[in-house]
């Protein structure tokens, strides 16, 4: 197979696509483009969701490393000493405690059960972007008492009737309003709503935050214990390193990194995502292969006589095979380019308009590597699908072909 032959194959392929049925070529390209989109969209969406959830868990729940109470204990005890110890360790940016208490919130006619979290507002800023998610009013100040910031879900919307609400709320609390909170221990206090925030992370948005000082008044004593401690790792240090440090200092045997926690809870979710991705990948490949196989088979069957004639006048069978091969390659390249364009546009669109649900919000997480890998897979499938019928028809003997 020389250069000249390949050139003639390419020439024949190009002419055939250009002067043959326009609509059939365009439809084939469209189908390949759609298969490509289908192949890449779900996996990219799922990894977008996965990334979104992971980020929110890190931001609003556990930081980089989570220190839980020793087994058998409900709380991390000896809090101040523990915090000092952790904050002094290499690789630790900041450690801060969370302490939650079940409570009933009352506002006008509405009553809502929620859990109220006590935080240290300044330290919390190192761990969580909560302070930047205030949509009305302001963030908690150190030492604030009788003041609370609540999530948008808790605050609610006065224009939505109670029975129409997706999630129960206080029915439209505004900054400056007073909300009465009765804690599980019977302590009751009127809070002024200092701020309303929206993080997009449901469990954060359906709670309220007060200061550590305020919670000490609720408890009636200094609060030297916490549900857990979240730790932010300094840039350049790994979570694992800090975890190992914490354990070797004997802080608590129950120290987990984000990765540890995700591999348990999220692992299951990600695993089912992976299965769905695999199915969608295989289905797309099969569809593309079958479509191209049919398109090329029809093309070759319709031109059997012509193939016989070309062979009769001295066109080698390899030239004829590559003619159809090149047609598939050209169609596949255009189809893949179309698919890449569609997915890229979708990715850009979803960056600005993410899919938002109460549990997560998702953008398309798409790397050039994903695009490349999927292109190669689809391309390989296309070549197989095209060359099988091309090979078969090019081997047919001249007499049989010409009589067709």
């Amino acid at each position: 197979m020389g250069k000249k032959e390949l050139k003639v194959s390419l020439f024949l392929a190009w002419r055939s696509l250009k002067r043959g049925s326009r609509s059939s070529a365009l439809l084939t390209i469209l189908i390949i483009g759609m298969c490509f989109t289908n192949m890449i969209f779900l996996p990219a969406l799922f990894s977008g969701i996965g990334q979104g959830i992971t980020k929110q868990i890190v931001d609003y729940e556990i930081g980089n490393v989570l220190v839980s109470p020793q087994s058998g204990n409900q709380y991390v005890t000896d809090l101040d000493a523990t915090l000092d110890l952790i904050n002094g360790m290499p690789g630790v940016e900041r450690a801060t405690p969370h302490f939650s208490k079940g409570a009933t919130l009352k506002y006008r006619q509405r009553i809502l059960g929620a859990s109220i979290r006590a935080i240290r507002p300044t330290d919390e800023k190192y761990i969580s972007p909560l302070y930047s998610k205030i949509i009305a009013g302001s963030y908690l100040g150190e030492g604030d008492t009788g003041e609370i910031i609540i999530g948008k879900t808790v605050a609610g919307d006065s224009s939505v009737r109670e029975e129409d609400e997706f999630q129960a709320s206080l029915g439209g609390v505004r900054v400056g309003d007073s909300v009465t909170i009765e804690y599980g221990n019977g302590f009751t206090r009127d809070y002024r709503v200092k701020g309303i925030y929206e993080t997009g992370w449901n469990s954060a948005d359906s709670t309220g935050y007060v200061t550590w000082t305020d919670m000490e008044q609720v408890e009636g004593k200094t609060l030297d214990k916490a549900d857990y401690i979240t730790v932010k790792v300094k840039p350049g240090y790994s979570e694992k390193f800090v975890k190992d440090m914490l354990q070797s200092y004997g802080v608590s045997p129950r120290v987990q990194t984000t990765a540890d926690l995700l591999s348990k809870g999220m692992g299951r979710v990600l695993q089912s995502f992976a299965i769905i991705n695999m199915v969608s990948l295989i289905v797309s490949i099969i569809i593309t292969t079958i479509v191209l196989f049919i398109v090329i088979t029809i093309k070759t069957i319709n031109s059997r006589k012509q193939i016989g004639i070309m062979k009769a006048i001295g066109v080698d069978k390899e030239v004829i095979m590559h003619n159809y091969g090149f047609q598939v390659i050209i169609l596949a390249v255009f189809g893949i380019l179309l698919g890449a364009a569609i997915t890229s546009i979708l990715a850009v669109y979803m960056t600005y308009n993410p899919i938002v649900t109460p549990e997560w919000s998702a953008t398309l997480y798409l790397t050039p590597m994903d695009l490349l890998m999927n292109s190669l897979i689809l391309f390989a499938a296309a070549i197989v699908a095209g060359y099988v019928p091309a090979y078969q028809v090019s081997r047919e003997d001249i007499q049989t072909a010409m009589r067709a």
Partner: protein
């Protein structure tokens, strides 16, 4: 130029054996314009296919230009057809997606001894010669039957083949166009000493041939010499 000995072709149709060619011995010299005639089913096309390396004989030998062509491999036969043989078929057999000049150039494009310049020049020359140069950029569907057959002839002779084979090239044409095609064959035969083997069953074609080989039931009944 062409020689066969005891050429046979047997088609197996279930239990029945059809002897399409039943022991053909013939010789055709360089520069001859030979007509092959005979009733339908007498084996004319079959003989032409054997001589043109488009099919494999059941038995017997064929020499083209001194080469024992039965012994060639598939690829060698393809190359032999490309470099030494030209064909004109009854139904023109052009590539519908190629223009007139692309159709004519196609066999030349595959030859290693032709560069693009030569191909372009010989294509223009041949199109002018057969009087369809003004149609060079049209597609097959935009041409009349006579014009299509002229393009097919141009394609067959552009490579200056040693032998030109034609299987009833006038079957789909009216008398006027048939005369044009036959006249063209006559001209290239005269001017370039082109060997031509043509199958026909029209009596009036006889006047164009140097010699007529008559077939019946797969046997030669008249060598015309």
């Amino acid at each position: 130029m062409i020689r066969t000995t005891d050429l046979r072709k047997v088609y197996q149709m279930g239990d029945v054996q059809v002897k399409a060619l039943d022991g053909i011995d013939l010789t055709i010299d360089k520069g001859e314009f030979v007509g092959i005639m005979g009733p339908s089913g007498s084996g004319k096309s079959t003989l032409l296919h054997m001589l043109g390396l488009l099919d494999q004989p059941t038995d017997g030998q064929i020499w083209l230009d001194g080469v024992a062509v039965n012994k060639l491999t598939d690829y060698e036969k393809t190359m032999f057809r490309l470099y030494k043989l030209g064909y004109v078929f009854q139904d023109y057999a052009l590539v519908p997606e190629l223009t007139v000049s692309e159709n004519v150039s196609l066999p030349a494009m595959l030859r290693l001894d032709r560069n693009e310049e030569e191909i372009a020049r010989s294509t223009t020359e041949i199109l002018e010669r057969i009087g369809i140069a003004d149609r060079c950029c049209h597609l097959q569907k935009e041409l009349s039957g006579g014009q299509q057959q002229r393009v097919a002839i141009a394609r067959a002779i552009v490579n200056k083949p040693d032998i030109l084979f034609a299987d009833e090239p006038c079957a789909n044409l009216d008398t006027e166009n048939s005369r044009m095609v036959l006249g063209l064959f006559r001209e290239i035969n005269d001017e370039m000493n082109q060997t031509i083997v043509m199958v026909s069953h029209e009596e009036w074609h006889k006047e164009y041939f140097h010699r007529i080989i008559k077939l019946r039931d797969g046997k030669i009944i008249d060598y015309g010499k």
